[in-house]
Amino acid sequence: MSTITKKEARDGIFPSSDVMLDLKDLKKVYPTPKGDYVVLEDLNLQIKKEEFVTIIGHSGCGKTTMLSMIAGLNPISGGSISVLSKHIKGPGPDRGVIFQSPSLMPWMTSLQNVMLGVNQVFPDATKKEREDVAKYYLQKVGLEDAFYKKASELSQGMQQRVGIARAFAIKPKVLLLDEPFGMLDSLTRGELQDILIEIWNKEKITAVMITHDVDEAIFLADRVVMMTSGPSAKIGDVLDINFERPRTRKSVLEHDDYYTYRKHLIDFLEH
C-alpha cells in the first residue's frame, strides 16, 4: 500500500509529459447572503494520462464543484486547471462529462442524442461515417436494439448507457463522471461499471469519477483520491490500487490487499 502526500501529488512524482490534468492551488468561493463560502482552497492534484481516478469525500465537501470546474461549467475563483499543460477556457469536447442524471434530450432518439455530440466533433465526416461512430458506441454499451427509441422511453439504466455512449463518442481526452451510477440498482450498476471499464480500457482515455461507493472506487480506480470535508476542502489522501487489469469482481474481492484498501478508505471517511 502506498500513499502519496498532497505535496508529492502536486510537485510531480510523474514526469510532466505524463500529466493529463493538472489542478494547481485551486480555489472556489461561492458568494452567499451570509458572506463568501470557501468550498475548495489550495487544492492540488495531478492526474496521469490514461489513468482512472476515483474521488471520494463526504457529501457537500465540494466534489461536484471541483468536477464542474474541470469541465469548465463553473468558474474558477483562484489557482488553475490545465489539460496537457494548457489552461482550460470554458467547457469543450476534450472533456466529456457523464452527469449523475443521464441528461439526455428526451425528445430525441438514442442515436440522435449521441449524434448531437458526434456532429459537433467530426463536422467534416460524412453523415454515414458520423452515424457509424454513434452506432458503434451505442452498440458497445449494449443498445444495438434501441437506436431509434426515444430517450424518454428508455429505463434509467438504458438512459445512462446512452450517456456513456455520448461521452465516449466525442473522443474526449478526459472523461469526467459525477456519481454516474448513483441512481441505479446494484445489478445494473455492476453491468455499467464493466461496460465503462471495457470502453475506457480500449479508448485509452483519462477518467475522473466521483463516487460514494467505496467498493466501486476500489474496483474501478488506479488511484482513489480522498477529499477532506469542507469548508476549504482539499486533497486529504491518495491511495494507489495495485490490482492488475483486467479485473473481475471476484478476483478483486479475493485479493489480500482488498480489505486493507477498504479499511484505509473507511478509516479516512470516518475521521
Partner: protein
C-alpha cells in the same frame, strides 16, 4: 384491433370517451366494476344535459308568461277588451307575429337551427346555380381581361361560421408569428426581458375593444386611398394582438427555464447558438409554448365575436349583431343557436390544439 384502438384514442382525445363505454355496454364487454365508471362518464353527463334543457324550458316558459301577461294587460289598457282578447287568441294559436319577445325555449332554438340549415341549403343551391350560369360568361370576361362576376348574395349562417374561423385562424397565425419568435428572444436575453416586461404587463390586460380601436386608427391611415374593404384586416389583426400575450409569456418562460442539465450538455458539446436554440431550447420549451398557444386560440375565438361586431366584418359576431338589430320573432332563437355554435367550435378548437400538442410534444404526460 389496431383500428379500434386508435378510434378509442381519438374519441378519448375529443372527450367523447363514453362512446366506447357505450359500445362495450351493448357488446356485453362491460365488467361489473366498470359499471360505476360508466355511470359517471355517461349517465351523469346525459342526466345533467337533460336537466339543463328542462330548467331552460321551464325558465323560458315563465319568462314567456310574464311577457305575455304584460302585453295583454297593456293591450287591455290601451285598446280595450276586444283587442286584448284578439291578442290572446293570436298568442295561443302560435301565430309568430304576436309572440312575446323573450328568452326562446329549447324547441324554438332547435327549430331555428333547422331553419338556418335549410336557409343554408337554399343559399348554397342558389350560389351553385349562379356560378354555373355565369361560368361561361366569366370565362369570356377573364379572357377579355375583365373582372369575373362574383356572387354577392347574402351569406348563410354556415358561411358566417367559416368566415369567423378564417378570421380566427388569420389572427392566431399572426399571434404565433409575433409571439413565438419574440418570446424566444425575450427568454434568451435577460436584458430584453427587462426591456419588454413593463410592455407586456401593461398591454396584456387591455380589452379587445380598445385593441380594435387602436388597430382601426392605424390600419385606416395605412390603407388610406385604398378601396379594399379593410374590416377583415382590422379584425384579424385585433384578434391576433389581443390573444398573443399568453403565447408570448409562456414562450419566454419556457425558453428561460430550460433544464440546466440540457444547457450544460449543450455547453460541453460546444453547440453553436443556432443549434442550441433549435436542438435544445425550443424542443424543451415546446410543452409550455403549446400551453400558451392553446390559451391564445381560445382567447382569439372568445374576443372574435366582439371584434367582428365592432368592425362590422362578416362572421358570427356580425350575425349575432344583425339578428339583435333585426328583432324578428325568431331572432332571439338564432342568437342562441349562434351561442351554441360559438361554444361548441371553441371546445373543438381546444381539443384540436391538445391533439397537436400531444402529437409534437415529447412528454406525453404533460399535456392538458
Amino acid at each position: 384491433m389496431k383500428a379500434s384502438l386508435t378510434l378509442g384514442k381519438v374519441t378519448n382525445f375529443l372527450g367523447l370517451g363514453f362512446f366506447i363505454t357505450l359500445k362495450d355496454l351493448f357488446t356485453g364487454k362491460l365488467e361489473k366494476e366498470e359499471f360505476k365508471n360508466f355511470l359517471r362518464k355517461t349517465i351523469v353527463p346525459l342526466v345533467s344535459i337533460l336537466l339543463f334543457i328542462g330548467l331552460w324550458h321551464l325558465g323560458a316558459k315563465s319568462l314567456y308568461n310574464i311577457e305575455a301577461k304584460f302585453k295583454i294587460e297593456k293591450a287591455l289598457q290601451d285598446q280595450g277588451q276586444v283587442a286584448a282578447d284578439a291578442l290572446k287568441t293570436c298568442m295561443v294559436s302560435g301565430e309568430s307575429s304576436c309572440q312575446p319577445n323573450t328568452l326562446p325555449s329549447p324547441s324554438q332554438v332547435w327549430n331555428s337551427f333547422q331553419s338556418l340549415l335549410r336557409d343554408h341549403n337554399i343559399i348554397s343551391a342558389d350560389k351553385a346555380a349562379f356560378i354555373e350560369k355565369t361560368a361561361a360568361m366569366n370565362e369570356k370576361r377573364v379572357a377579355a381581361g375583365k373582372a369575373a362576376i362574383v356572387y354577392t348574395g347574402r351569406p348563410s349562417f354556415v358561411d358566417q361560421v367559416f368566415t369567423s374561423l378564417q378570421t380566427v385562424f388569420a389572427g392566431f397565425l399572426l399571434a404565433l408569428l409575433i409571439a413565438v419568435p419574440l418570446g424566444i428572444f425575450i427568454g434568451l436575453s435577460p436584458n430584453l426581458k427587462s426591456a419588454f416586461n413593463w410592455f407586456i404587463q401593461i398591454f396584456k390586460p387591455v380589452s379587445p375593444v380598445v385593441w380594435y380601436l387602436l388597430v382601426f386608427m392605424i390600419v385606416k391611415t395605412l390603407l388610406i386611398g385604398s378601396t379594399e374593404d379593410s374590416s377583415f384586416t382590422i379584425s384579424f389583426i385585433s384578434v391576433g394582438l389581443c390573444s398573443m400575450w399568453a403565447t408570448l409569456v409562456n414562450t419566454a418562460m419556457g425558453v428561460s427555464t430550460v433544464d440546466k442539465d440540457y444547457i450544460n450538455v449543450a455547453k460541453v458539446l460546444k453547440l453553436g447558438t443556432f443549434q442550441k436554440i433549435f436542438k435544445v431550447v425550443l424542443p424543451s420549451s415546446l410543452p409550455l409554448i403549446f400551453t400558451g398557444l392553446k390559451i391564445t386560440l381560445s382567447v382569439a375565438w372568445m374576443v372574435l365575436i366582439a371584434i367582428e361586431l365592432l368592425a362590422q366584418s362578416p362572421g358570427l359576431g356580425l350575425f349575432v349583431w344583425e339578428e339583435f338589430q333585426n328583432g324578428a320573432n325568431d331572432s332571439n332563437a338564432k342568437i342562441i343557436v349562434a351561442m351554441f355554435a360559438i361554444g361548441i367550435i371553441g371546445f373543438l378548437l381546444d381539443r384540436l390544439m391538445l391533439m397537436i400538442q400531444n402529437w409534437v410534444s415529447f412528454d406525453k404526460t404533460d399535456a392538458i
